[in-house]
């Protein structure tokens, strides 16, 4: 079970989580925790301020961190001795954090290694408090950092990659023994260690990745991700108020949905579960009765319904490169993509007609003007690209479902539904894995398009 920051935002929420874990304690459980609330963001901020030498901020910040964590202890641990013991450990960690931040502020230097070390305090603090709260409820607990639990990574600080075989072996060795003794391991998410014992952070996917790595090591039956939403939705409830939670989707569908901005798991975190076929259940901490969304192997997915979900990606812009001379001119696309890559701009969607006379690209809207400028400088006036145009009033309509590849006519039905409402389509692209279909439309048509697709595929009916 992994608990996200919002589930652990304060003492009463930590209490609630501890009760929840206790209610499931007949099962063998491993608990993975994020930092409390937004603590990781605050730590990041503090480390940057410290790098600029802002010692006043470091002082104020240290007081703040100490206060929120001590308050959380007080509100989640009732036994006096336990409270005192836990508070002491929190104090000691906060002292250490203060010293580290002061060191950074004096040196005015923040290496990726020291940044990871500073960020690790978030989870180290939250795990100790939850550990105390669980002991307070009569459970046997062992609090471990990701590294102590056996997760080993390369030394790429800031976004370390797990060495999976080494991790599987070590986690199995260390955690299985605890479980067999009836102890609940409480493990810090997001942070791990390299082979020299230095603290690293996992970057994208963070704590969820910790949870799936541990599950894969132990060959767990399920991974439960406790969060503050009911699960993955069929559509944005702001557009479709009656939209429901999806009960069951495949790993591949989940990967697509996350890319389309659904609040779910990063694909990197899905990977270990997908490889070892361990189902992931997304549940709401504050409504544990609700079923949530189960992410599992495609074979157990109902394929009668081609489309599972429709989403609108709003913060996008489209660029088109046009020119008759582009026909047969080799390397035009490569040059455009290289230009964007050099600017650090990620390309979300690409299409080119067979005539080769135009290429369309979708990118994040906030990098649109930067991208257009760079493309103009590198490609215009060279006799190949005649014109570069862009649209900043477009949305991407994304349709997701594993059945798209089994059931013909999905694209036709989407286009038809849009045509009936006279909604123009500017660009269309289906992934080669065919789990999704993306369509570029005008902003003004966005909500209507979602509604029409929702109706066309009966998405209310699950």
């Amino acid at each position: 079970m992994k608990f996200g920051g919002s589930s652990l935002a304060d003492g009463s929420k930590i209490s609630h989580v501890a009760d929840l874990i206790k209610s499931y304690s007949k099962n063998s459980i491993v608990v993975v925790v994020s930092a409390m609330g937004e603590v990781t963001d605050r730590l990041l901020e503090a480390s940057e301020k410290a790098e600029r030498g802002d010692q006043e901020y470091v002082k104020k910040f240290s007081v703040y961190i100490r206060e929120i964590h001590l308050a959380a202890c007080k509100n989640s641990i009732r036994n006096k001795d336990l409270l005192e013991e836990t508070s002491k450990r929190i104090e000691a960690l906060c002292d250490e954090l203060y010293r580290v931040l002061t060191g950074v502020s004096l040196l005015k230097e923040l290496t990726p290694k020291s940044k990871d070390y500073i960020l690790s305090f978030g989870e180290r603090l939250s795990s100790i408090i939850l550990g105390g709260a669980l002991r307070d409820r009569g459970l046997k607990v062992k609090v471990l950092t990701g590294g102590e639990a056996g997760i080993v990574t390369d030394s790429n600080f800031g976004e370390a990659n797990p060495l999976t075989e080494a991790t599987f072996y070590q986690v199995k060795e260390r955690i299985e023994a605890l479980i067999s003794e009836g102890i609940i391991p409480v493990i810090t998410g997001y942070i791990a260690e390299d082979q020299y014992g230095k603290i690293t952070t996992l970057g994208r996917g963070g704590s969820d990745l910790t949870a799936t790595l541990i599950a894969a090591s132990l060959k767990s039956n399920e991974v439960w991700i406790w969060t503050d939403v009911e699960g993955l939705m069929v559509a944005d409830p702001k557009i479709i108020p009656e939209a429901k939670v999806l009960p069951k989707i495949s790993y591949e569908e989940a990967t697509e949905m996350v890319m389309f901005g659904a609040k779910g798991m990063h694909p990197r975190a899905l990977e270990p579960a997908m490889v070892h076929k361990i189902p992931i259940l997304i549940k709401n901490t504050f409504n544990p009765e609700a079923k949530g969304t189960l992410i599992c192997d495609e074979t157990s997915i109902n394929k009668d319904k081609p489309v599972k979900m429709v989403a609108l990606i709003k913060d996008v812009g489209m660029i088109s490169l046009i020119g008759g001379s582009m026909v047969g001119a080799r390397g035009t696309a490569a040059q455009a993509f290289t230009t964007l890559a050099k600017q650090g701009i990620n390309i979300m969607m690409i299409s080119q007609s067979v005539s080769e006379s135009d290429i369309s690209i979708v990118i994040k809207r906030d990098s649109l003007s930067k991208a257009v400028n760079a493309l103009e400088l590198s490609m215009l006036g060279k006799g190949i690209v005649r014109d570069i145009s862009y649209e900043n009033d477009v949305y991407v309509l994304a349709i997701v479902g594993a059945g798209i590849k089994y059931i013909p006519g999905v694209a036709a039905r989407v286009l038809n539904a849009l045509a009936k409402e006279k909604i123009n389509v500017y660009m269309i692209s289906a992934g080669s894995s065919s789990n999704s279909l993306s369509v570029v439309i005008k902003e003004k048509d966005g909500y209507l398009a979602v509604k029409k697709v929702y109706e066309e595929f009966n998405l209310g009916d699950i």
Binding site: D154, L163, E165, F168, Y169, Q170, Q195
Partner: protein, 335 residues
Amino acid sequence: MRIIIFGCGIVGRSLLELLKVRKKELNISYGLAPKILGVVDSKGFAINTEGLNIDEILRIKDLGRSVGEMENYGKKGAFELEILENIEFDLLIDMTPTNIVNGEPALSLIKRAFSLKLNVITTNKGPLALAMPLLLELAKHNNVSFRFSGTVGGGTPLLDFAKKCLMGDKILAIRGILNGTTNYILTEMEKGKEFSEALREAQVKGFAEADPSLDIDGIDSASKLVILANWILGKKITLKDVKVQGIRDIRVKDLEDAKKKGKTIKLIASVNGEAKVEAETIPKDSNLAVSGSLNAVSFISQYAGEETIIGRGAGGKETASSVIRDMIEIRGLMG
């Protein structure tokens, strides 16, 4: 090449003997000029960054004493892994005894060596049987060479044959007799001797250990199978994934019955999807029906069909010669 040696039992001493006797030849033919900076045994260690004298090491070992008692360079007591960080060298050779329960202390030693970017040769099956996927991953991650020819087949180059000679083909399955002791026992039982008598003989002849249970319960075969499966087939398995059965239940009568049908019983380790070690009844004229303490392994590949290698299993000299093979290979990769 600067080397530190861990373990100075039969294999370790055989290696030092070979290095001494073959010194000139190894240097001229392979450019291999090993310098032993350190030797560690169970009771102490000796270190000289200028290189230890092999004769002196052998002399003190022949007296049945620890290298920790060597003059000037010896030190009694446990070797702390931290010492490795303070010596500059190229290759660590682990010839410590096999521990099949947790692989220690070799497992921690090899992990530490990798993290220090050291090449490693081991003749110890324990760490490999228990954690081979981990060790291969860490060696690759640290970009160092890791060789273990001596763990399977002793002097018979089984691993190299499959990895190099069958390169470009796809090996689908492996079947073989990987333990000399049990094969010797089964061969003698076929001649009518009882299990216990055959076992005693094997012990007298020096094939079997004082505690032969690792052999006769199939654990040794299973360990070697794990190594073959990981290295040759790329299967990420450990000892826990192998279904193991020994030869304790085999009776003389079983062998007689098999013989009447032109068959024989062998302890076969195989991996073909599932990994297992069990006594199988196979035709007398099968490639694997070798007798005595021989080992035999068949590689079944997609295009070349079945190839079988037969050879003597482990022995001090044989295993030491496989270490030299590994040293030459690592020497080649180094420059």
